[in-house]
């Protein structure tokens, strides 16, 4: 299992991403996405779902019409790990 990132590792990882913010005292990462309509939002979610299966790591997410709110954490590690950073990168790619 991947270890929880240290504060310095989190800072470095966040600097390599854009639009993500730390939540819960650094134990999760969050980003909200807004699309044109539900179909665009769900198409994005489908791309993320496929990436999540490939990475064997999944988002906690909420969708309402054209909006998708994503939270990433590694539940079994009790905090942020490299797996969350990898998934965040795939999510950003899926949103482009």
């Amino acid at each position: 299992m991947n270890p929880v990132l240290s504060g310095a590792e989190r800072t470095a990882a966040l600097a390599s991403l854009s639009g993500w913010t730390e939540r819960d005292g650094g134990s999760s990462l969050a980003r909200d996405f807004v699309f044109r309509d539900f179909a665009e939002a769900f198409a994005f979610m489908t791309r993320v779902a496929l990436a999540a299966e490939r990475l064997e790591h999944h988002p906690d997410w909420t969708n309402r019409w054209n909006r998708v709110e994503i939270t990433l954490t590694t539940h079994e590690a009790g905090g942020l790990t490299e797996r969350d950073i990898s998934l965040a990168r795939e999510i950003d790619r899926a949103a482009k």
Copy 2:
């Protein structure tokens, strides 16, 4: 626009569904679904997404791994309408 259901209409509609509960003083309906894994949960969500597009009415929903929590309301009417009941029926069908 469909009118908000009266208390009696809500009661009758709920009696025709199973597993749904009223929330927010009767202004929304909620149901939680649990699947074997993420792939099963997302397959269900995809069926619901297609039904939602067809009905032009969409759920508010949250997914975490194998769990999908759905809330239905008609935002523009400020409460539950017949559109929510129709979507609930489609969701139940998608979960089978």
